[in-house]
Amino acid sequence: MNAERRIWGQLRDDPAGLAGLVVVGLFLLVAMAVWLGLIGQDWSAADGARWETPGPDHWFGTNILGQDIFERAIYSVRTAFEIGLVVAVSSTLLGALLGALAGWYSHSWVDGAILWLKGVLDSIPFYLFVAAVAFALQGKGWAMHVAMIATFWTTTGRLVRAEVMKLKTREFVLAARTIGLPDALILGRHVLPNTIHILLVQASIAFVAAIKTEVILSFLGLGVQDGVSWGLMLAESTQEVLAGHFSNFLAASLMLFALLMGFNLLADALQDAFDPKQASQ
């Protein structure tokens, strides 16, 4: 009957989900170790020769400037988690808030204004929007955070709006009104907690999307400004691959692949475990 135990029990019986959990856990440990300054701190030091092959000094070899590729790939884990978490949490909260307001006051001017904003944001091609934001913010490192949060909330908002419109006619919401609770309290305590399954799934989707988008934007020069990311490494590798040096390319793309694959497996398993329809059977 205990919800946490049930979810854990279901996850344990799902080998793919468990594998995802292990992979994401490892990446998370690496990200925290980098954040605490334990590893990956020498990512910018050019202490090797150009294009050294993998060896005991430089595990993954060095890049065109003689920087250690292992250090750079490891530091990029932190970059990925940082943007993934910031964007996933902010865009989900923003979507939940705006979606809940639109749903609760549906067919009023509040709903109209939020839907209009969503329509406008959805109609702008994403990379054009990011480029515009990055240009407007004059190359600030958080320009891509702003651009992603501003556009990623719309799907969450739409789903939450529909769910809230459904929930607000349910008897327990009417019951909350008949015991005299004000709207804000009903929305915050009885309506939004009942959309948690949507929020969790949307946050996990936003996390993956943010990491992918960060890599693409960094590759295009619109993303990470002071730091290193798999996208920047891939951008470097465009010159190296032609010269027959694959270390940078392989390190960045394989680590990106491993993290996204692991996270998708975990998210799928969690989605199954959290599914309220399955839980009631």
Binding site: F172, L174, T178, P193
Partner: protein
């Protein structure tokens, strides 16, 4: 005779029906006295539930007045209405599962009422909720307090809803088919507990039902509703013995037919 705790006069509720407003509750009037149980009977779709929702201010009233102890609820702004709801007038819903928030422990939902209207702190409200659960007849109230709605049976859930509704000893309780979703034995237990608690607190009940057996057993008076109007209103004994309106007679006839078959 004392003045009624609830006096409804010429109450109308309109619904938009394909652009054309239609009266689903049509100029009905009735009174409810302290400690009295008035049945509102009628077939599905006759406007019983809309009447209940109008009394609670959940749907806008088109015309008429709802005087609770001399205050007209129909003219009260939402903010003032909130202070009355749950304290002076409260409601028990038909479906005990959907009337409780699935993600909250039942204790917190009852405690909410005490914190809202009695201004109790967290711990005090919890104690009050526990006491309320004991009063609706739970032997292991402490366990129910910590349970989620889906862990309780239908009858238990409805008793939790009753505990919520009766928490502040309201003057008027609107019970919208409180036992329709329950089996017959549980029905009797829940209704007995409800009427007993109402009797102690002096709460008047508007009991909405289509079950004439319940009307005969628990109610003092009955109002028969049909197509948004109250067609007949009388003491239960008199209504059963000498129905004045042909519809009432037909309703009683149908119920007897059910008993025979």
């Amino acid at each position: 005779m004392k003045s009624p705790v609830l006096a409804v006069r010429d109450l109308s509720v309109f619904l938009q029906d394909g652009g054309q407003p239609r009266a689903v509750v049509d100029t009905i009037s009735f009174e409810l006295h302290e400690g009295e149980i008035l049945a509102l009977v009628g077939e599905s779709g006759c406007g019983k539930t809309k009447t209940a929702e109008a009394l609670m201010g959940l749907v806008p009233t088109a015309a008429g007045s709802i005087e609770l102890c001399g205050t007209n609820l129909a003219a009260l702004p939402e903010a003032r209405l909130r202070r009355v709801r749950g304290r002076d007038i409260s409601m028990v819903f038909q479906e005990p599962l959907t009337a409780l928030d699935p993600v909250f422990r039942t204790g917190n939902q009852i405690a909410d009422v005490f914190r809202r209207h009695r201004g109790l702190g967290r711990a005090e409200a919890r104690r009050a909720a526990l006491e309320m659960l004991q009063r609706v007849g739970f032997a292991d109230a402490g366990h129910v307090l910590r349970s989620y709605p889906h862990e309780l049976s239908g009858g238990m859930r409805q008793r939790v809803v009753i505990a919520m509704a009766m928490a502040c000893r309201p003057r008027v309780l609107v019970a919208d088919e409180p036992t329709t979703a329950l089996d017959v034995t549980t029905q009797a237990q829940v209704l007995a507990r409800l009427t007993e608690m109402a009797g102690e607190a002096g709460t008047a009940i508007l009991l909405i039902t289509h079950d004439l057996g319940i009307v005969a057993h628990y109610c003092d008076r009955a109002a028969v509703m049909r197509m948004g109007r109250i067609v007949e209103q009388a003491g239960v004994d008199q209504l059963f013995a000498q129905p004045q309106h042909p519809y009432t007679a037909a309703l009683l006839g149908a119920a007897r037919g059910n008993l025979l078959s």
